[in-house]
Amino acid sequence: MTPLTPVITAHWDEPDLFTIEGYRRTGGYRALPKALGQDPDAIIATVKDTGLRGRGGAGFPTGLKWSFVPQNDDKPHYLVVNADESEPGACKDVPIMMANPHALLEGVIISSYAIRANHAFIYIRGEVPQAIRRVATAVREAEQAGLLGDDILGSGYSLHVTVHSGAGAYICGEETALLDSLEGRRGQPRLKPPFPATHGLYSAPTVVNNVETIANIPWIINNGVDWFRQFGTEKSPGFKVFSVSGHVRRPGLYEAPLGITMRELLDYAGGVVGGDGTVKFWIPGGSSVPMLTADHLDTPLTYEALAEAGTMLGTGTPMVFNSTVSVVKAVTRWLEFYKHESCGKCTPCREGTFWITGVLERFEHGAGSNADMDLLLEVCGNISGRSFCALGDAAATPYPGALKYFRGEFEDATHTPVDEVFPPAASYIFGEVATR
């Protein structure tokens, strides 16, 4: 069994880890002086060598992203931390910010130093004011400790950090929409090119990274490339904070090397709860990736293996569903989410999510048809690859995956309301979920 590897989550049982003292006591802020003593390019090279891939969903190599930022231009550079975690099923960035905000901050300082930014922004989802308060407090503490501000630790390097609250839009997790929102505009994705690396925030070179990605950085600096690469696989190096949720006995965060299987994670999480005790279907990383079934529980959770299985690692936040759950209903709820969150900019996503949701709601009431099943596939095909940003592609994902494995349920939904086959009450779990 693959062992868990708590790194970011290592000291989360310390009650004051979120304070600067608590973080320091557990070894925090030791990477920073080490990094400030290095050439920024050396840090970029290190991160490149680790093969760290973005933990926000797309899995783009972080070091490569940093290296796209033009150097020696006379524009300001910015680091923007994407803390707008809103993916259905994803709950890892908010816990990181709550439990260990200084790890994020230390990563922010080192990353900003590497890309030669003197101002960093942390864009936090507006629905989690606790996390906003906690990170803002951590920024204040770091400023008072001379870890932020002018001439950090006497290095001559200056960095100011702004904590910014989102206003409740899933689209603002898309990096260019996030930048528009951060600039005070309505959050909608921007036309690319130009890319943020050259024309990002305020049209200046900008790196946008996920919270977890940045939180990796202090440990990479402290322990080096080889240490990092001992975890995971060649193409998916490192460890990952997996947030396991759904019908499991112990939902929560499990930090493990990439390449661990869902079966192993399920074991850590105490197995499936409710229903007939088996996994009916699961999604590896948020609703934006296609679902898998019990047949895929031994697929390694890596970028490459999941791609081969026809899905994606996404945010690495598996959701598990037991036998009581209607696939039709789950897909309908997801599509309602995408319909609600579609920004409206492009036609396929705006109109397509509206259409799919309407048809799915008919299925839910037992009023779908066989023709509708094909129609939905075609509509998803007309969204996928034609929408402006990945939100549309994501919205076109759940239905085809569901149809692939559970066509029979859609066929049933052409004559019988879903609630009659899958009574919602059967899915509820009372009193069975254990605490750790």
Binding site: A169, I171, R186, L191, K339, H340, E341, S342, C343, G344, K345, C346, T347, P348, R350, E351, G352, T353, F354, W355, G358, V359, R362, L375, E378, G381, N382, G385, R386, S387, F388
Partner: protein, 813 residues
């Protein structure tokens, strides 16, 4: 289909890339968008959000095409060509065709398909492209999204949200082109809709353009909504008669009535935009028209036949030969203005003619003669695009020549052109064109311009000396002694191109046609022997028959008429026995009251007019003449560009001024020609250009600065684009989008005058007072700004105009 403006400059072959589009190899300039390449090749890719004059947004996804090597279809409106690129449109690519069909199906899901009751039906890009790229039937069985309809974006602009396809053309136009970002997309997903803030309607001077570029029927105007079907309209390309911008328009006529006007394409002038005045202010054409000649009998005007009226007028004018003056106004076509110029000189034996019935001066007369009249084209709009600096003096483009404003905004946005505005107020327009505000107390323009010439800002001066620099002088400088002299001097000393931007469409044409005392057609000085020869030859008269001395300009004409009141009373000979007045709104003149009073007392008055007015009431003979849409002609814009047009409404009984003058000349037995547009134009063309000398520029010194008392301020003023102008009558929705009538002052000035706490203030002169709301704004200290001719603020009626010193007190009068 809108075509992108074509650059006339040849492209170096190294800047070309080769690509293959639908199996055809073409070479196009680097950086060209694929959709533009297809247009150039005559291949139409369907599109909604794309517009050549707006930044790409790639939102509608209608123009998806296949680019070899890319797994996903790409938006042709946002992909630039690269060397060796292989592109396939819907004509040769299954992928592109399927993608477009899918997007079209999406667009129609929530569209109401209410084409039979939609204004756009019949000229709708969605309708057309649904036919070419869409499915025959819908597969959508769910309930369409609906909205209450329509809602007001402004008094004029209405929105039917369920028709909108969220292409963002209107919002991008408002933000990018007009600089009035009051329209914005609100909400998200299928609920996304165009909207305005509750307290800020879309009162942009350019709002109507959004209707025209809307690719569906979502935006409509209060004026045109439900008035016509496109296929009932007869369309004619015309030229706007309002300001001197020279916009090409399309005038749509339904059963003989002008029903709609659109901006028409002229890449050199208005691109494809116009202002709301040009678009919506045409109701005057249809209402309150004079229909018959009128003759005064026993003190009352009565309808008369044309022969009778011509006879009465001809006898009256013949009796007053040599003592007759002519006021033509600034709204005639160049051909009609030319007819007056010729008629005055050969039928009336007079040189007392002026097209200005507004604030004017001898200095302006001599400035126009030396620096404007008969000069070739330029500076031009295109010059503004690339000028090292554009200096605006006494000229507020957004109000006084809106297309100059749009061009300057584009020059600023796209090319970073340095613009400086010498103005008493930091107006919204100054900010929209990114201009530097050079503070100038009203009336001090001459001194400020002289200081620029003396190097007050070395950057500005250096830029003015760089080839391509442009100085634009506005109409109000006519009322500031020394200002036009200083401007001409600055242009001469720096080499900058000098443009004069009058407010009315006909002024430049009238000037070039010779409708100004001392100037024969083509800017020929009356006192130049060879100029007289040339004109006499074309007119078929002897040079010695032309007036010998430069005659009276408008100021002297009015002086003479006022003097005549006294002279008549004392039995002296009148200076002016007869007056011919064309379509003149005398209230534009600061001495309108005195002029009307003088007209009551006696000169034989012949009016050629389209509508009843203060002048026709006093006339002895009134001839009804054609409005601009009923005749062919041309306007000369501020650049000197001649913009000809033909009649949009045919078959009305109204004759153009030139024909009436010809008939009058015929009755007076003066050989004039038949006065039709073609012959007038041909004569005028013979007299263009004038290659002889022009008189010297004026050298009027600025008077010493007059101290302003503790209860007074210097008045800055001009006409807002939308105001009480007579050509805007009959269109309440347009009037409702006008800017508020208010006085502007700096806080310092308001405090110094003791009115800082006042909600309203009173501006007074010895002739009267107006009371206005006060707003504190960026105004040069010591000045107050108020609109010249807005609702509740007719400054000319109290004898106040730009540069005057007025008394300012708190509260109502």
């Amino acid at each position: 289909m809108t075509m992108a403006p074509q650059s006339s400059t040849p492209v170096a072959s190294t800047d070309l890339v080769t690509l293959t589009l639908d199996d055809i190899e073409v070479r196009v300039p680097k950086g060209t968008l694929v959709i533009r390449v297809a247009e150039l090749m005559g291949i139409e890719i369907p599109r909604f959000c794309d517009h050549p004059l707006l930044d790409p947004v790639a939102a509608c996804r209608m123009c998806l095409i296949e680019v070899e090597g890319q797994v996903k279809p790409q938006p042709a409106c946002a992909v630039t060509v690269t060397e060796g690129m292989v592109v396939r449109t819907q004509r040769t690519s299954e992928m592109a065709d399927h993608a477009q069909e899918g997007v079209m199906e999406f667009l129609l899901l929530n569209h109401p398909l209410d084409c039979p009751v939609c204004d756009k039906g019949g000229e709708c890009p969605l309708q057309n492209q649904a036919m070419t790229a869409g499915r025959g039937t819908s597969r959508f069985e769910e309930t369409k999204r609906t909205f209450p309809k329509p809602i007001n974006m402004s008094a004029q602009i209405l929105l039917d949200r369920e028709r909108c396809v969220s292409c963002a053309r209107c919002t991008r136009f408002a933000e990018q082109v007009a600089g009035d970002p009051m329209l914005e997309l609100l909400e998200r997903g299928a609920q996304q809709q165009v909207g305005v803030a509750a307290d800020q309607p879309f009162d942009s001077y350019f709002s109507g353009n959004t209707i025209q570029i809307c690719p569906v029927g979502a935006l409509t105007s209060s004026l045109y909504r439900f008035r016509a079907r496109p296929f009932d309209l007869v369309s004619t390309p015309t030229t706007c008669e309002h300001c001197a911008s020279g916009c090409s328009l399309r005038t749509d006529v339904r059963r003989g009535v002008v029903t709609r006007r659109l901006a028409w394409d002229d890449a050199d002038v208005n691109e494809e935009w116009n202002c709301d005045k040009g678009r919506f202010a045409f109701m005057y054409l249809n209402e309150g028209r004079l229909t018959h000649p009128l003759v005064r009998e026993d003190g009352h005007l009565r309808p008369a036949s044309w022969p009778e009226a011509l006879d009465v007028a001809a006898r009256g004018l013949a009796a007053a030969r040599g003592r007759t003056a002519v006021l033509t106004g600034g709204r005639l076509t160049r051909e009609d203005a030319y007819a007056y110029a010729k008629f005055t000189r050969i039928a009336l034996d007079s040189d007392d003619i002026d097209f200005r019935t507004r604030v004017s001066s001898d200095e302006e007369t001599s400035f126009l003669a030396s620096s404007v009249a008969g000069r070739p084209l330029g500076p031009t709009y295109a010059d503004l695009d690339i000028a090292p600096v554009v200096l605006l003096v006494g000229f507020e483009p957004e109000d006084e020549s809106p297309i100059v404003h749009l061009r300057l905004r584009r020059a600023h946005r796209k090319n970073g052109v340095h613009i400086v505005s010498v103005s008493p107020v930091r107006t919204p327009g100054i900010d929209k064109i990114g201009a530097t505000w050079w503070e100038c107390l009203p009336g001090d323009e001459a001194r400020v311009v002289a200081s620029i010439a003396a190097g007050a800002d070395s950057d500005v001066l250096a830029h003015l000396r760089t080839p391509g620099a442009v100085i634009l002088a506005g109409e109000r400088l006519a009322g500031v002694p020394g200002a036009l002299s200083a401007v001409a001097d600055l242009a001469a000393s720096t080499g900058a191109a000098l443009g004069w931007v009058p407010r009315r469409a006909g002024e430049r044409g009238a000037l070039d046609a010779g409708a100004l005392a001392g100037l024969l057609p083509g800017g020929r000085p009356l006192d130049d022997a060879s100029a007289r020869q040339q004109v006499a030859a074309v007119w078929g008269v002897q040079a010695s028959d032309l007036p010998r001395q430069p005659g009276r300009t408008v100021g002297s004409i009015i002086d003479a008429l006022i003097t005549d009141v006294r002279r008549s009373a004392t039995g002296e000979t009148r200076l002016i026995d007869a007056l011919v007045i064309a379509g003149v709104d005398v209230s534009d003149d600061p001495r309108a009251g005195e002029l009307l009073g003088a007209l009551d007392e006696g000169p034989f008055l012949v009016a050629l007019s389209t509508h009843h007015s203060d002048v026709t009431e006093r006339a002895d003979v009134v001839f009804p003449v054609a409005v601009v849409t009923e005749k062919a002609g041309a306007f000369t814009d501020w650049e000197g560009r001649i913009k000809p047009f033909s009649a949009a409404v045919r078959g009305t009984p109204h004759l153009p001024d030139g024909r009436v003058l010809a008939m009058l000349a015929d009755v007076m037995d003066v050989p004039f020609g038949n006065g039709d547009v073609a012959s007038l134009r041909a004569e005028l063309d013979l007299l263009t250009p004038w290659t002889g000398p022009h008189p010297d520029a004026p050298t009027v010194a600025a008077p010493t600065a007059e101290a302003v008392g503790s209860t007074s301020a210097r008045l800055g003023s001009w006409r807002l684009l939308l105001d009480r102008g007579r050509l805007q009558e009959g269109e309440p929705h347009l009037a409702a989008t006008a800017r508020a009538t208010e006085a502007l002052m700096s806080r310092g000035t308001a405090e110094a005058l003791g009115v800082a706490g006042a909600d309203v203030i009173t501006v007074s002169t010895p002739s009267g007072a107006v009371t206005l709301p006060l707003r504190i704004a960026d105004v040069v200290d010591g000045a107050i700004w108020a609109p010249m001719c807005s609702e509740g603020c007719d400054l000319l009626s109290i004898g106040a105009f730009h540069g005057a010193t007025v008394r300012v007190t708190g509260g109502a009068s």
